[in-house]
Structure formats: C-alpha cells, structure tokens
C-alpha cells in the first residue's frame, strides 16, 4: 500500500518536472526531447508496479513490471527465437516486399492517367479494408511458416504505400512541372529530378503507417497457424497456459521493435526530406 501511494506521488512529481522542462528554454534540446517521454514512461511503469502490488492484482491477469522484466531476462533465448521468426523473417520480409512492390507499381501506373484514375479509388477503398480478415486465407495458401506471415504483411502495407506514393507523385505544383516543360525534359528526367523528390514526404508517410501495420499483421497471422515459435504463437499459447508474464515480455519486444522501426523510418525521412517545411524548425 505504501508503494502504491509512493508511486502515485512519484508519478505526479515526474509530471511536474516534465512540465518544468517543457516550459524551459532548453525544451528543444535533443536530450530534453528524449528525457521527457522516457522518465514519464519510467514513472508509469513504477505506477503500474505500485498499483499491481498495492491492490494485489493476480499475476495471471496483470503481472507487475518487475516480474515481466525477470521473465524477459530469463527467456532471452526464446524471445530471440521468436524475434527472428516473426520480425526478421515475417514482418521485415513482408514490409520490404510490400513497400517495394507498392512503390514500383505506383510509379508504373502513374504513367497512365487512366490506370491512376481507375486504381486510386479502388486502392483507397482496399486500404480501408480489414485486411487482417484475410489472414486465415493466406495461411491456408502459403503454409504455416513465415511465408504466409510475410504475405499478410505484404497485403497490409501495400495499399497505404501505393496510395500515398501515387498521391505524392501528383503533388508537384503546376509551375514546377511547367519549368520542366520549358526545358523539354523527358519523362524519366522529370520523374527523377522533380516528381520523385517531391513525392518523398508522402512516400514516407505511407512507410511510417506501414511500419506500425507490419508487426500487427505478422503477429495476427500466427494466430491462424504457425510453427512452434514466433511472437504471435508465444502470445497465444502464453495466454492459454496463463504465462502472462511471458506474454508481456513478447509485447515489450513488439513495442521496442515497432518503435525502432518507426524511429528508423522517421530518421531516414528526416535525412531525405530535410527540405520539407515540416522538417524544418
């Protein structure tokens, strides 16, 4: 109970401190930008610990962060095996194939205004579909191993990237295009020198959305059949056998990997679209 009270107070204290930092002149420092959310996360974990132990929540419902950390440390081998299976083989393969295919096809259909006009509404529509629903079908088509997971990821990331890229390719303004016309620039020159650079902010928008979808897709697909490894496999069997701490360890891996993936894409975005107003300050 003391721990509970203490953790609540600590959390409020951290919030107050963040408030101070956020209103101080150093707030735009890289250090501040990382420090503030990290200590808030730390304080929240502490609050969680306090709540769970203070209120005596059963570990089969919600384990304490310390238990999760212990399990994490004790099962690194398992977690690594699952990471390789789900992330490296399933999600990343699917992500790379899906994004590349979408990008290439977007550039190809962009040549034809007929195809663009025909495909874009359909693409928008499909992008809105609950693609996870096709997971059982793809598992039955592509088998139990990572290939079917990659296939689900491909389908999930394909349309967001396609739609964003096509839109980005049309995003050049009339004057920028006219300039190319006065130079009598060819299709390829216009594409490489004008339209692709101008499309990059949109492409990256799609890639970022796709990066959060990729993991979800790979994990959901494992619910419909998998070898006896993988994050989705471990999560679902973990729930079944009440190893909830292991489930949370897997969730932690997913969150870390997802954040790194998203952060990585954002980092590349920053380097590539440094010129865009949203990247300048």
């Amino acid at each position: 109970m003391n721990l509970l009270i203490f953790s609540v107070i600590l959390w409020c204290g951290v919030w107050a401190m963040n408030r101070q930092i956020a209103n101080s002149p150093d707030r735009d420092d890289r250090a501040a930008r990382i420090f503030v959310p990290v200590v808030l996360g730390g304080a929240t974990l502490f609050l969680w610990e306090g709540l769970v132990t203070g209120l005596g929540v059963s570990p089969v419902i919600l384990p304490a962060p310390s238990d999760i950390a212990a399990t994490f440390a004790a099962s690194t081998a398992t977690l690594w095996e699952d990471f390789v299976q789900t992330v490296l083989k399933g999600a990343l393969t699917g992500y790379v194939i899906g994004c590349t295919a979408a990008f290439v096809i977007a550039v190809l259909i962009d040549r034809s205004s007929f195809l663009t006009r025909g495909l874009l509404p359909i693409g928008n529509f499909v992008a809105a579909l609950p693609i996870v629903g096709i997971a059982p079908i793809l598992v039955s088509w592509f088998g139990f191993d990572w290939q079917s997971k990659a296939a689900v990821v491909v389908v999930m990331v394909f349309f967001p990237v396609l739609v964003n890229t096509v839109q980005g390719l049309r995003e050049t303004d009339a004057m920028q295009r006219d300039l190319m016309r006065t130079y009598a620039a060819g299709y390829l020159q216009t594409l490489i020198k004008l339209r692709l650079p101008a499309a990059m902010p949109f492409v990256f928008n799609g890639l970022k959305i796709a990066s959060t979808l990729a993991l979800i897709g790979a994990i959901v697909a494992e619910y419909f059949g998998s070898p006896t490894r993988g994050m989705g496999f471990r999560i679902s069997t973990g729930v079944g056998s009440l190893s909830i701490d292991l489930v949370w360890a897997e969730i932690a891996v997913a969150a870390i990997v997802g954040t790194l993936l998203y952060g990585g894409v954002s980092w590349i975005e920053k380097a590539v679209t440094f010129w865009h107003p949203s990247q300048r300050r």
Binding site: A22, P37, I219, V220, G258
Partner: protein, 310 residues
C-alpha cells in the same frame, strides 16, 4: 463521375485475374475429388501429385480444370460463388423477411457496425481531445506524443483477452464494450495525428493577426484553429473509421465475440466453409466503403459550405 469508367475497367480486370487464378489454385482439390469419384487422373495419387506443379497438372488433366470452379471447399472461390453466398446470406434473407435473423449477414454487419461506431466515437473523441491538449500544452506534446506512437506498435491482439478480462472485472457485461475499446485503440491514433497537424495548420501570420486583435485562446481556437483543421479532421476521420472497423473485426476474431462479421470469419475458418469467410470479407468491404463514402460526402458538403473547395 469521370472516374467511373476507369474504375469499372480496373474492377473488370481484377475480376478477370481472379477468375483466371481459380484454376491453378483449385486444381489439386479438384483432382483429389475427381480421383475419389473414380476418374483417371495423371499422375494418380494425391501424394504423387504434390511433387508436380499446378501448371503441369492443368496441362495433363485439362478435363478436370473446370471442376475447380465448382468446389464446395475451394482454396479460392470464384467471384460468382462469393456473390451467390453473399446474396444467400443477405438479399435472400431480406426476401424471406428474415433480414435480422442470426443467419443473415445484415444482422452481423449491424453488430459490427454498432461496435465500430462506438469505437469510432470513443476513438475520435479521445483523438481530438488529445490533439487539443497537445496543441495547447507543451508537456502533453513532449510526453504524450511518443507514447501515442509506441501504443500503436503494441499488438492489440495480444491485449484483447486482457481487455476482456479487465472489463469484466470492472463489471462490464457483454463483449460490446471491450470490442469498442479495441476499436477505439486503433482509431484514436490517426485522428490524433491528423488533428495535431490540423490544429497546427494555421500559419504564424494567421496567428499573429489574432494577436493584434488580442483574441483569447478560446477565440483563437474557434475562429482559427478549428476551421483551419477541418480538412485534416475529415481526412483523419476517414482513416479513423476504417481503423475502427479493422479494430472491431480484430476484436471479434480472437475474443470469441459470438456475433459480428469477425466472428463469421472465425467460424467460417473453424468449420471449413471458406465461402462464409469470403462473404463476410466482402460484407466488411462494403461496410467500409459505405462508411468512408458517407464521411467523404459529409466532407464535401461541409467544406463546400465553408468555401474551402471549389
């Protein structure tokens, strides 16, 4: 409207591809059946056929290719089969006056729609309020935004059972609320991001103008930030409702929600009736299309009335 023709052509092309893909996808099943029925199949024996490519099988057994188009449990059903199944579970039900029976997809779409709308309402409210807080408070901006992103990297399917257990512990009956929570979890993020962008859309000079009038924060919000964010709002609402639908279906898949389109997909899988899965998927697609179109129309009308689009 001028897009109608290209869209139809592309749709026709997709259907044609789909139709063509049915033959190779189903040839093995078709040959297995034909062999059981006593037909001579080349090569004989399902195990032997596993070593042979589908193209070879199609060439060697041209008579049986067509049987792949009429299977009960196809790996890939034909568009017509899916259409028929959909009609059987919707239109025919309506004609029989049983539109809202448990066997009707209309009933299940209704269940899914209900959760989706609750999730959408909850998610957009959260997203918008969050965005308002983030735009007006730097602490919120610095501490909450990164966690909002991280929240989306957590596999919601893993949390789904815990959400159900926790909400029942909090005394919430039924599966509707947990489904709506899952749906809101997926929905709030695009709305939050879009609205933060939108509420920050006013340029420095637009803000300066109001400063010279000494306008209050409230006035700045209602007279500048909110109207300036409307195009972003609608865009994020469209993504939001699509995400809410995905969330509901994800929530219905593994949480044993006993009704709704997600549950139909699950049961279709469990009892080996692929046609039921495809029909439910198609129904979900139609639902998604209808919802997004509705918001799109709303967007056009509103923005037109606000003079923001020609």
């Amino acid at each position: 409207m001028k897009n109608a023709f290209p869209v139809l052509v592309v749709l026709a092309a997709i259907l044609a591809l789909w139709y063509a893909a049915v033959a190779p996808m189903n040839i093995r099943t078709a040959l297995d059946q034909a062999e059981r029925a006593g037909a001579a199949v080349e090569p004989a024996g399902a195990r032997e056929r596993l070593e042979v490519s589908v193209w070879r099988l199609m060439i060697d057994n041209p008579d049986h290719v067509s049987e792949g188009y009429a299977l009960d449990r196809p790996r890939l059903p034909t568009p017509v089969q899916v259409g028929e199944e959909l009609w059987k579970t919707t239109g025919e039900m309506v004609l029989k006056g049983r539109a809202l029976s448990k066997r009707s997809l209309i009933y299940h779409a209704g269940i899914t729609l209900q959760s989706t709308l609750w999730g959408f309402l909850l998610g957009t409210t959260l997203g918008i309020l969050g965005a308002v807080a983030i735009v007006h408070s730097r602490v919120m901006d610095m501490s909450v935004m990164p966690w909002a992103i991280i929240s989306q990297t957590i596999p919601i399917v893993a949390l789904a059972p815990m959400i159900i257990v926790l909400s029942s512990q909090l005394g919430i009956e039924g599966r509707g609320v947990p489904k709506a929570i899952i749906s809101a979890y997926l929905c709030y993020f695009p709305v939050l991001v879009g609205m933060v962008k939108g509420l920050r859309a006013p340029t420095a000079s637009q803000l300066d103008l109001l400063r010279t009038y000494n306008a209050s924060q409230r006035e700045t919000f209602f007279k500048l930030r909110l109207p300036a964010s409307l195009p972003y709002l609608f865009t994020s609402l469209k993504i939001g409702i699509a995400s809410a639908l995905v969330g509901t279906i994800v929530g219905e898949l593994p949480t044993g929600a006993i009704s709704g389109l997600g549950a139909r997909i699950l049961i279709g899988d469990q009892f080996g009736t692929p046609l039921a899965i495809w029909a439910a998927l198609l129904a979900a697609a139609i639902l998604a299309g209808a919802l997004v179109t509705l918001l799109d129309v709303l967007q056009r009308v509103t923005l037109k009335r606000m003079g923001m689009q020609t």
